[in-house]
Symmetry: C2
Amino acid sequence: MDIKQIAKDTAKMLQSYLTYQAVRTVSAQINETNPYVAAWLHRFSTKERIQDGEVYIEQLFLEKPELALRIMTVRQHLAEEMTEFLPEMVSTGIMQANMEHRRQHLERITQLDLSNPSIQESESNSADSSSYETPSENS
Amino acid sequence: MDIKQIAKDTAKMLQSYLTYQAVRTVSAQINETNPYVAAWLHRFSTKERIQDGEVYIEQLFLEKPELALRIMTVRQHLAEEMTEFLPEMVSTGIMQANMEHRRQHLERITQLDLSNPSIQESESNSADSSSYETPSENS
């Protein structure tokens, strides 16, 4: 598994996502002071455009540079605020979710074993036999 | 701006994204050992399904629990590996991108000023006049 490439892709995606959150924040702020511009920003910020944060900012700069500058300031602020607790949140979130999925699975197979033990057997035969290996062995 | 809510949303999105990256990793691994199961996983992993990582894992557990377990292991591993350098990467990425956008903008307005100074003026009139304020003042 190419951790370096995945980290790069994840950082790029996160950068675009924080840009999207910055757009939402700025949009909510100017909605109070200038609903006309907020409506314009809403129309401008289509799903396709906002998919890539950098292309979005670039295009916005050509239309309304002061909005682009403001969104850039907000996303930088968000990035600085997030970095402190985001990694911990994601790690804990995944660990807890994994535990919950395992618990539910255990509950399910225990019930299956009681009612129809043969289901379990045929299920494991149809699947990839090596799938319990740890992923690092194949990468 | 509601930093806490944005952090929560970002963590949830990142959790789903790492699940998606784990699916890609596992898919590439079993493609070598068991192309049949890899093809099945590819069909199962539709864009709609993978949008929410937890729903995806839950549904996969019902079909092929050993694949769900393997993907869960990989995503936890990814989360642990990422946390170390991801925040730095995103912060630096945004800072550099912002600098580059500002540089391009500066270049553009300098050129505009030389060729047609009136464009700048009419542009700033049509936009929200308060948009140069820092975002923290409104939140």
